[in-house]
């Protein structure tokens, strides 16, 4: 919202806006954000969101650690990140102001619910003086309203208790913001009716609050510097769109992949933040033949998935970093027995319990190396919430075609972040049906396809193929236990060659922007896609010769990657960790790639990427 400025009369047209809704966990900010997003998506803007939950549990009202935030970035051009800094901050209480004000752009707008600025709340937020009075807000344009009171007035006729009535204040606020940015309330009205179908009076009160907030904007006189705006449609590719979070699209991608493979999914999972919602989503989709099993622990979850794959289904397990750390031994079993398996790792801040609700990319080396023995497997990463769908399909494809575990890396920001997604059609995906051995002649369980090196999949229940497998080394020619030295060498090499061979079956690495011959290449993976993409675009606009490659396949790496990297003099590798992909690239290709590392539980800001490109070019 570079062009953001006050206006009083007609709506001012803006190219892009970043709004952050912030309040107490109990204030319903996630809902507010989601509804604003929904409506914005329907308006045809491009958008990206970033929900930021409080860590772990509902904290006592009013405390800073109980603040919940939801940021949305929407624009009339295509955008890829939730925005570096908000143009508008909605602060429902002092704690929300305290935590978020520092991020607001200079000159940005703050919408404040003064009704929550009681001395008790100020104290809980750690304010010694009232920020409304002491000049804290001087650099900003403020809209101060007693939203609590306005809401109570708006829903008075419904005779709810005060507590219930106050719950509607997020809808009042939403109404006001929808007025301010010219959004349609209809989808929210519809959604409220559905959600409170069994309690129509609650639905009606919320709708009344929503409308009252909107009406307030229409009628009340705004202080100077506060106006109303419009953000025209973005020029999106034609098609049908929806809004989607990464965990939803991962879930759906798994189902789609399984259908393309002709398999049923057995999901073994143990709840863990931020992966749990994949389990929840799939548990609600049993009609797709997905069996969801909440196991007793992380190890049981993956082991049940392996058992399911052994029995001829597609075993899937979903978790986050600490869960992956526990699954290492079982992953090794899946590698040794060469069974298909998809492990989804929704990465979060580490080490150990770390920052469970924050995002990070620090499981990459664990994914590639974190097991005993020479234990290669395939690793795939998703780069945007919507891209999780295709990445999940790709993970399933590789698992089934190569009889191997595949780790799909997403992260907290993808999992909970949302973006408009052009809905694909299943007809556009080529099926990759799994085949099961039935021929008994010449059978042994480690017979391999000479092209893919995948072993045969012989399902229990198939007459004549009775066999035993396990974690001990197996003879190349018989599949029986073998302690033969040369055989072990050969099998280790074959397992490695099978994974390496996947490189022939994945796209060559392309440049997302720029071209060979540019001065510098920025190489990313995973959720940094949006920030890097925009940072590179901005730098290119300034005339910098910078290219961008985003790597989807991390093990094996694309065949042409070495050549591509070597064609640049400088290589910058931004990662939300202390340097992991950069290690893989350096060791694999002996290129002097340098890292840009942010380990703060937050995505890169576009400006950080831009600045790093500039300083790296100078160095």
């Amino acid at each position: 919202m570079d062009t953001f400025a006050a206006s009083q009369g007609d709506r001012e047209s803006l190219e892009s806006v970043v709004i952050r809704f912030a309040g107490d966990s109990g204030d319903g900010m996630q809902l507010t954000g989601t509804q604003f997003t929904q409506s914005t998506a329907l308006m045809g803007n491009d958008l990206a969101t970033f929900p930021d939950f409080p860590a772990e549990i509902r904290a006592p009202a009013g405390t800073t650690f109980g603040v919940s935030g939801f940021q949305i970035h929407f624009a009339s051009r295509d955008i890829m990140t939730p925005g570096d800094a908000p143009d508008v901050l909605v602060a429902m209480n002092p704690a929300a102001l305290k935590v978020n004000l520092r991020d607001l752009k200079p000159g940005g707008m703050v919408v404040i619910n003064t009704g929550a600025f009681t001395s008790g709340n100020l104290k809980k937020a750690g304010y010694t003086a009232d920020p409304l009075e002491d000049g804290t807000l001087a650099p900003y344009r403020t809209l101060r309203l007693d939203i609590s009171k306005l809401t109570l007035a708006a829903v008075e006729s419904f005779e709810l208790g005060t507590k219930e009535a106050l719950r509607c204040k997020n809808m009042w606020t939403l109404g006001l913001m929808m007025w301010m940015f010219d959004r349609d309330r209809e989808p929210t009205v519809k959604w409220l009716k559905g959600k409170f179908a069994k309690k129509p009076e609650i639905a009606d009160a919320n709708i009344a609050a929503l409308n009252a907030g909107h009406a307030y904007g229409e009628t009340a006189e705004m202080p100077s510097g506060i106006g109303c705006y419009t953000v025209p449609k973005a020029d999106l590719a034609p098609g049908t769109y929806r809004n989607i979070t990464g965990n939803e699209s991962t879930s759906w991608g798994l189902i789609a992949g399984a259908q393309l493979a002709g398999l049923q999914i057995i999901l073994g999972s143990y709840p863990i933040t931020p992966a749990s919602t994949i389990l929840h989503t799939l548990a609600n989709l049993k009609q797709f033949g997905v069996v969801t099993f909440q196991a007793e622990d992380e190890i049981a979850a993956i082991c049940a998935a392996i058992g399911a794959s052994y029995a001829g289904s597609l075993g899937v397990t979903t978790t986050s970093g600490p869960g992956v750390a526990l699954k290492g031994e079982a992953l090794g079993l899946a590698v040794a027995t060469e069974l298909p398996l998809v492990l989804v790792d929704v990465q979060r801040g580490g080490p150990s319990t770390g920052l469970p609700t924050k995002t990070e990319q620090s499981d990459l080396l664990q994914a590639v190396y974190g097991r005993n023995g020479d234990c290669p497997l395939a690793v795939v990463a998703a780069s945007t919430p919507g891209d999780c769908f295709d990445a999940a399909i790709e993970a399933v494809r590789l698992a089934v075609k190569y009889m191997t575990p595949v780790i799909l890396l997403t992260d907290g920001s993808l999992a909970n972040g949302a973006e408009p997604w052009k809905i694909p059609s299943m007809a556009d995906y080529k099926p990759f049906p799994a085949t099961f051995r039935t021929e008994t002649e010449g059978f042994h369980p480690f017979l391999r396809d000479q092209a893919t090196l995948a072993r045969v999949w012989a399902r229990p229940g198939t007459p004549g193929l009775e066999h035993r497998i396990g974690g001990l080394e197996k003879g190349y020619d018989s599949g029986n236990i073998s302690y033969d030295p040369d055989n072990h060498h050969k099998m280790t090499k074959v397992r490695a060659a099978k994974i390496a061979g996947i490189a022939d079956d994945i796209p060559l690495q392309a440049l997302d922007q720029g071209e060979v011959g540019d001065d510098i290449l920025v190489v990313g993976w995973g959720s940094t896609y949006g920030s890097i993409s925009q940072g590179v675009r901005a730098a290119r606009r300034r005339g910098v010769k910078v290219a961008h490659a985003q790597i989807r396949h991390l093990s094996p790496l694309p065949k042409n990657l070495g050549e591509l990297l070597r064609s640049f003099k400088k290589i910058l590798v931004p990662e939300l960790n202390n340097g992991m992909l950069v290690k893989l690239l350096r060791s694999e290709f002996l290129v002097d790639a340098q890292g840009l590392n942010k380990i703060a539980g937050q995505p890169f800001k576009v400006a950080e990427i831009e600045a790093a490109i500039a300083s790296h070019l100078e160095s």
């Binding site: 034609p238 049993k286 082991c303 229990p460």
Partner: protein, 343 residues
Amino acid sequence: MTPHDPPKKLTRKDFVSDQEVRWCPGCGDYAIVAAVQKTLPELGVSREKTVFISGIGCSSRFPYYMNTYGFHTIHGRAPALATGVKLANPELDVWVITGDGDGLSIGGNHFLHLLRRNVNLQIILFNNRIYGLTKGQYSPTSLIGKRSPSTPLGSIDYPVTPAAFALGCGARHVSRAIDIDAKNLGEMLKRAHAFQGTGMIEVFQNCPVFNDGAFTHFTERATAADTQLHLEHGKPMIFGKDRSRGLRLRPGSLDVEVVTIGEDGITEADLLVHDETNRAQAFLLAGLEPPSFPVALGVLYSSPAASFEGALLAQNEQATASAGVGDIDKLLRKGHTWTVSGE
């Protein structure tokens, strides 16, 4: 599903694999594998639908010797693997093989949850009160004072009683047999197999190399009659060489005592009658030990209930019945969508 021919009449030999058996000479495991190979044909099961799943340990090599499907997995995790197998294909007849270390040490948690869920399979716990494969360290069932490489001054942990533990876990079918008592063992295999849910069999298995004679105080032929109580549902609890002794409830308390029929006017009618469905009684029986008491063998407890995979897969059917078979294109378009037309 592959087509499934009606099972032809199989014999013991059909269940013997071509792999050389790698247990020590004299190991109790031989008797157990023989009993299983003998019993399977009697159950009328097919080779291709039978799956043996084990963890790691001497006992866990079992699947290699069975000419069926088999999976020798990782230490302690067989119950979890097996649950996945049953979810993928409930028609498979799954046997979990585990040891006292595999099942009760590293695998204790999965053992618990398998039992409480009541997945429809059989689990055989080879209890030799020792870690055989790793060369003789004491195990969770080793008796106090066990000298082993890791406990040169004797172990100090109170042992776990597998049957009591299983009952505490909520197991619904708990039974016991002795490796070399082929008759009772075969019977227990059949009972567990017939049980719709998790049929748990503890087998007292001798490890002649690292824990020889761990059970001889009640398995020796000479004294067996006096040290073994063979339970039969609905029958009074009688034992002893001339079947003259029995268990009686100590009047007014939840406790039992050994009595002699004919002495002090005691008759068979005074004895406790075995009720397989009484969990508290099973728990008490599980704890009886020589020399004061005989060891309770047979089915200590059996109380059927819906199986886990049955109930879970029924939910899938229910979901499909109410929502229709899932259509991905529809799923992707459910909820708010909007269309951008190519202008």
